[in-house]
Symmetry: C2
Subunit: 259 residues, 2 copies
């Protein structure tokens, strides 16, 4: 990942205990069929974590209006922010803007600023009906700058609509991030152990239960040296995370692999 912006100086302030959440909707038949492998989920997840927003749910939905509308309405009422990728190009299968308008119950039309951006990029001959489609923005929406290829994304309410092409999405996200409320960052420490997670399980449960706000994830892995367990200790309180991670290290050191 390119380093996300240090947003602390620009972002709206929130109370120290407010947790900022996000849902993400990936729109596109090509991801569901497996022809295109998604490269946006992991990037956005890491980016939001780094700026203090908890990604709490992801949905991948097909290019079908009712399904997009349903996902947007489910997630926008559940989370602080919703991000979408995909479906904002010029072709018949690009129906995200219309779907977002339906979800909000508003009209949609060519947005004068968006048209102006496209006019800077294209001659009158080039600016055909398909390209003009990319300037259609739901009523009340604000443009999201596209530093790569011109045609903007948009936001309306708490929903941010971005392109599906990773480089364009990433440029848009850099533009959006400074406007977002962000909470205390979730801090994490990683402990790697050549111990099966089943031997660590009891001790991990106790370490986690003993400290409020500390979460311990346990992720078995296999590599050339055999099995191991990666333990991720997370907390918004750095001292608590460090102390729990030290206990996890001691736990791992006290055990011997039994297989």
């Amino acid at each position: 990942m390119s380093s996300p912006p240090n947003t602390s100086e620009t972002n709206p302030t929130v109370s120290p205990d407010e947790v900022i959440t996000a849902g993400l909707i990936i729109i596109g038949d090509e991801i569901l069929s497996g022809r295109t492998k998604d490269r946006n989920i992991g990037y956005i997840a890491e980016y939001l974590t780094a700026i203090g927003i908890d990604l709490t749910e992801v949905r991948i939905v097909p290019d079908v209006e009712t399904r997009i509308v349903e996902a947007i309405n489910a997630l926008r009422h559940a989370y602080t922010y919703v991000f979408t990728t995909g479906g904002i190009g010029p072709t018949h299968d690009d129906i995200t803007a219309d779907s977002v308008a339906k979800a909000f119950g508003v009209g949609i039309d060519h947005h004068p600023e968006a048209v102006a951006i496209l006019k800077q990029r294209y001659t009158d001959d080039q600016l055909n009906a398909a390209r003009l489609r990319m300037a259609r923005i739901p009523d009340g929406g604000h443009l999201v700058h596209n530093p790569v290829s011109g045609a903007p994304g948009f936001c309306i309410g708490n929903v941010y609509v971005m392109a599906g092409i990773p480089s364009i999405m990433q440029g848009m996200l850099d533009g959006i991030a400074p406007m977002l409320k962000t909470g205390r960052k979730m801090l994490s420490e990683t402990v790697e152990a050549r111990i099966p997670e089943s031997l660590l399980a009891e001790g991990l449960g106790k370490i986690e239960a003993a400290r409020d706000g500390v979460m311990i994830g346990s992720y078995p892995f296999m590599d050339a040296d055999g099995y191991g367990t990666r333990l991720i200790v997370r907390s918004r309180d750095g001292a608590a995370a460090a102390a729990a991670a030290e206990e996890v290290r001691q736990l791992a050191a006290s055990l011997k692999p039994d297989m």
Copy 2:
């Protein structure tokens, strides 16, 4: 992808027009935080497409029981099959089996066959409470063979519960596939054009509208040679897909890039 099985000889037969659908639930905080990049969605999507099952929705949810229950119940009533990955290990954050039991409103207990599998793998000393947790299966569930590391997955109703580690998930899916109903495979042809999709848009819409059951996806890309558009023509009718793809090729050949 390793080649999926040719399932036509083993799978239950369905009527030619029946479309078999699937939902996929990825369970795990580590994916939502971006620390672990998902490697299962693309694999499962491609695999299901290849055997004639349409993956129609994916949800990524955290290690939180209410959220897992909600996703399972939403998807199992909406699609022919639901697959899940993650959360079936021995640690405190592995709550998938309990969540599936809650979703189905059934009890959960150590499954004798699953215990027997673990006993083959572990000595009595090794088979601690954490490892035995991996033998807890919702009442009425059937085991799914794990050719890699022993601890089984399971299925109950139309829900198939698999491990999150990609190699283990892939082994389980190979075991599950021969039991699934599969429909007529969606066939696709790809046409690549060095034409902006906005120039193709009008013609593509007409080609798609002219043929029932033909879908055309348009995916702009960027590479070292600049912009281009990948057009994916899909249909369950191979002749229709081939004819539409030929029309798309002719459309692309009739146009010149204008930027």
